[in-house]
């Protein structure tokens, strides 16, 4: 039963990956006019243009181009950067650690903020704590990261001088970008935790736990939180995508040398193969994270119907 579900889910994910690759492949054909001219500039010699056109395979029929692109992606061959002439995959590999560190740190910050805030709001529903938590969450959702980031830089880097303004040098430089990215997620997450906890708290097994005379901390921490966590994990997987997309802007703000910064730099340099590769990598990561959370969810909760 579970295996069936797993195989089905794997296939549909594979299909989505194929679709993403196709769309990303088509992106280059969206460039208005001749992409070669845009990349090389109007003054380029015709011979250079033809050479690049041939190197990128843009002189082939579109179906053949598409097939070559798919085969390339399947072999982790994403072409060459037009700018540095390096293999695109190498450029990506150089940048992955920075983005991974930033995402994990942001995720950690989001959970650390959202869990207590959400639980507090649920347990003391309609109290002043609930109000404060929900107003904070609303503010967090409404402050985009390109406002939050500069604000944090202004206060904590320029005025107080606690952290470096930008760059990636040591632990201190991680704090501000991770906070920027994490608070937005924390806002969404705390609302989810609250909603999920509110539902669980009313369940019979919570009343039963209370009736057995367990302490409130045990009831909430062990019985309620455990059950409330499952839907929250799914949401977390879905929101991880927003986190990755937000990283593109956050990395630009803080000159954090990750995939997002690479993507924006490449857009500015019109280095289209690299832009395509960045979009591919981020989207693939998102699909895989969602697949993982779904499968974990199914594996963990015996109540979830597998054929749903």
């Amino acid at each position: 039963m579970f295996l069936n579900y797993l195989i089905k889910r794997l296939f549909s994910s594979l299909f989505v990956l194929l679709g993403i690759t196709t769309l990303v492949f088509l992106l280059i054909h969206l460039v208005p006019g001749d992409p070669i001219e845009v990349m090389l500039g109007e003054t380029a010699r015709p011979a250079d243009r033809e050479a690049l056109r041939h190197a990128l395979g843009l002189d082939l029929p579109i179906l053949q181009q598409w097939w070559q692109y798919l085969v390339g992606v399947a072999h982790f061959d994403l072409g060459e950067s037009l700018h540095s002439k390096q293999a695109v995959i190498q450029l990506l590999l150089d940048r992955i650690p920075a983005t991974a560190i930033l995402s994990i740190a942001s995720l950690f910050i989001a959970i650390v903020i959202a869990l207590p805030l959400g639980i507090l709001a649920a347990v003391y529903k309609d109290s002043i704590w609930d109000r404060i938590a929900m107003v904070t969450a609303m503010l967090g959702v409404s402050i985009p990261n390109f406002v939050m980031g500069p604000l944090l830089i202004l206060i904590f880097a320029l005025w107080l001088g606690w952290f470096p303004v930008s760059g990636k040098e040591g632990f201190a430089s991680l704090i501000l970008p991770a906070l920027t990215l994490g608070t937005a997620l924390a806002a969404i997450l705390s609302r989810m935790v609250r909603a999920s906890m509110l539902e669980v708290i009313q369940e019979d097994y919570i009343r039963a736990a209370r009736a057995r005379g367990l302490t409130e901390i045990r009831v909430l921490g062990l019985h309620a939180l455990r059950n409330a966590a499952l839907p929250v994990i799914t949401i977390l997987g879905m929101q991880f995508g927003a986190l990755l997309a937000g990283a593109v802007i956050t990395e630009t703000i803080f000159s954090w040398p990750g995939i997002g910064q690479l993507m924006i730099e490449s857009i500015q340099k019109r280095d289209y193969p690299v832009v395509q590769a960045c979009v591919l990598l981020i989207s693939f990561t998102y699909v895989l994270v969602n697949l993982l959370t779904d499968v974990t969810y199914m594996a963990l909760d015996p109540r979830v119907k597998l054929d749903a």
Binding site: G19, M138, F146, I267, I282, Y286
Partner: protein, 267 residues
């Protein structure tokens, strides 16, 4: 209406009026005054001047114009196209529905505004391309919602009755289904509006939105980050402008959602 919600409504109306009347107000958003470079906010000029000596309050108003007009265009396009496709998929079923779900799933697989950034980046910066990029990303939410809502309405008695009376499919969907699924769609539109305001400012922040000298809150923040130590108001003013607008739209969206009591929307 709850009294507390008149505040966000008021803020929204103020921004709208400012955006609408912007061109006829005595504003000079592009006027460069060399003697006013980096002038900090004071009693006569609440928001100060930027690195070129341009009035930030005038640029904020022009930014509101950019922001609101792009959001209205994008949300309108997405609303119409998304709702139409979603309803058609659910109504026709079979192959069409499957195709729609496939396309929607594909677009959802791109996280957040990543696809919009890539599209705007490849299409090249500019107002028109920003609208195209944001519309391509935004219609999906409406399509998904309209599809699910139509599916629940499709087998209702009043639809069967209309069928029996010989009403055409077109009329049934338009007059007997659309009005009933309007409420959730309007709520979706509210949150989409806030989303597009943020996304447009985000694109502009990355240099992919409207181009100078046109003002956008996002590009104002981008310019301001370079002078943060000498002129923090260059970042703070547009930052709070975005916050005020987005926060108010989100609050109104929440209010609508609670008022219409649509459960599947509750987070």
């Amino acid at each position: 209406m709850n009294k507390i919600y008149s505040i966000p409504l008021f803020v929204l109306v103020v921004w709208t009026v400012l955006a609408l009347t912007g061109p006829i107000l005595p504003l000079h958003p592009d006027q460069i005054a060399l003697d006013k470079i980096f002038v900090t906010p004071n009693w006569s000029q609440w928001f100060g001047y930027d690195d070129l000596g341009r009035s930030i309050s005038a640029r904020l108003i022009m930014g509101a114009r950019t922001s609101l007009s792009i959001a209205i265009i994008v949300v309108s396009i997405s609303f119409v196209v998304g709702t139409l496709l979603g309803m058609m998929g659910a109504w026709l079923g079979g192959f069409w529905d499957k195709s729609l779900v496939m396309v929607v799933d594909l677009f959802i697989a791109f996280p957040g505004i990543l696809l919009a950034i890539a599209l705007a980046g490849l299409l090249g910066p500019g107002l028109m391309n920003a609208v195209i990029a944001l519309s391509i990303v935004s219609w999906v939410g409406f399509a998904r919602l309209a599809r699910v809502q139509t599916l629940t309405m499709k087998n209702r008695d009043h639809v069967d009755a209309a069928h029996a009376l010989g009403t055409s499919d077109f009329t049934i969907t338009l007059r007997h289904i659309l009005p009933l699924i309007m409420a959730p769609l309007i709520i979706e539109a509210t949150f989409a509006f806030a989303g597009v305001v943020i996304a447009e400012a985000g694109l502009s922040f990355l240099g992919l939105g409207v181009q100078p000298p046109a003002a956008s809150w996002g590009s104002m923040i981008r310019d301001g980050t370079r002078y943060m130590l000498v002129a923090p108001h260059m970042v703070l003013a547009p930052g709070f402008a975005i916050l005020s607008l987005v926060l108010c739209i989100n609050l109104l969206g929440d209010y609508l959602r609670d008022k219409m009591d649509i459960r599947e929307f509750k987070a």
